[in-house]
């Protein structure tokens, strides 16, 4: 652990500019870009783009659901990369464990968004909220195992042991991502196949532009959340190391006052 213990007389900072949390210019810029691209996607997706010949108005969910799914894959992929970097002795540093924690949690958020929007889409187009289709089942499994990963991260004990255990767990879970992505190719499923990632995309014109814009909006949203969440990890580490000393200093200050 890199942080050093604070002086014994240190007390908690009063609310003010010094305790503004995890925000700074970077997060404000990322948040602004995410909000603007998100608003533009909403306008184009809900107002400007035409309805689909087959799916009608339901096609407008394509500007949310695939972007959420891709962002969740990116989150879990980043979690796996950071886990490898932590397990590798030459690159082992607490920052990789923090990155894995942040990306795992944000990935779970986008996985839940994917499952909910997919379920709504399924109800409207297939008539059921849920079916044990290969793609749906694998996405639910992916969400469940990464919720398990977050539970492993919450276990108490030596932080280094916990970080190693979590990293191994993430690496055991990550093979589900490519299997989930290829599920519609490998098996006959109710879920439609890839819309974009193939030689002849099945979407064109303003719909294609809006769909690509939705990926940009979700990407910036992901980056914004990641920066905030990573910094929360930094502050939690500091709190674990310094919080006890701060509490004692506060009690002493109260006692002498």
């Amino acid at each position: 652990m890199a942080a050093t213990a604070p002086p014994a007389q240190t007390v908690a900072a009063p609310p003010g500019p010094a305790s503004c949390g995890t925000g700074d210019l970077t997060t404000r810029v990322l948040g602004l870009i995410a909000a603007v691209t998100g608003a533009l996607t909403a306008y184009l997706g809900l107002v400007f783009t035409p309805r689909d010949a087959v799916q009608g108005q339901l096609v407008r969910l394509i500007y949310v659901h695939p972007a959420a799914a891709t962002t969740c894959y990116v989150g879990f992929g980043l979690c796996a990369v950071a886990s490898v970097a932590y397990l590798w002795p030459r690159t082992r540093h607490r920052r990789w464990d923090r990155l894995a924690a942040a990306s795992g949690e944000v990935g779970v958020l986008f996985c839940i968004v994917t499952l909910i929007t997919g379920s709504i889409w399924g109800r409207a187009s297939w008539g059921v909220w849920w079916t044990w289709d290969a793609r749906l089942t694998l996405t639910a499994l992916l969400c469940a195992v990464f919720i398990g990963y977050l539970a492993v991260r919450r276990t108490t004990g030596d932080p280094d042991v916990r970080a190693k255990r979590s990293a191994v767990f993430a690496l055991l879970c990550i093979p589900i991502v490519p299997i989930d992505h290829e599920a519609t190719t490998w098996w006959t499923t109710l879920h439609q196949g890839n819309t974009l990632f193939r030689s002849n995309p099945s979407i064109h014109g303003s719909q294609l532009v809006t769909m690509l814009l939705s990926f940009v909006a979700f990407g910036f949203g992901f980056a914004w959340l990641m920066v905030h969440r990573y910094r929360v990890e930094v502050l939690e580490d500091r709190y674990d190391q310094e919080g006890f000393a701060v509490a004692i200093a506060e009690r002493r200050a109260e006692g002498s006052g």
Partner: protein, 41 residues
């Protein structure tokens, strides 16, 4: 169109709530720690 509205609303609400909760968590932690020049401040 109700399903479309439900899908979009669910995504916006979930992401917004998570963002709000994360920022709030950071503010509470920072308030309970001694002042220190974090790299992002």
């Amino acid at each position: 169109m109700n399903y479309v509205a439900a899908g979009w609303s669910a995504a916006i609400v979930l992401i917004g709530l998570y963002g709000w909760r994360t920022i709030r968590r950071g503010r509470v932690l920072a308030r309970n720690l001694p002042p220190k020049d974090e790299t992002w401040r």
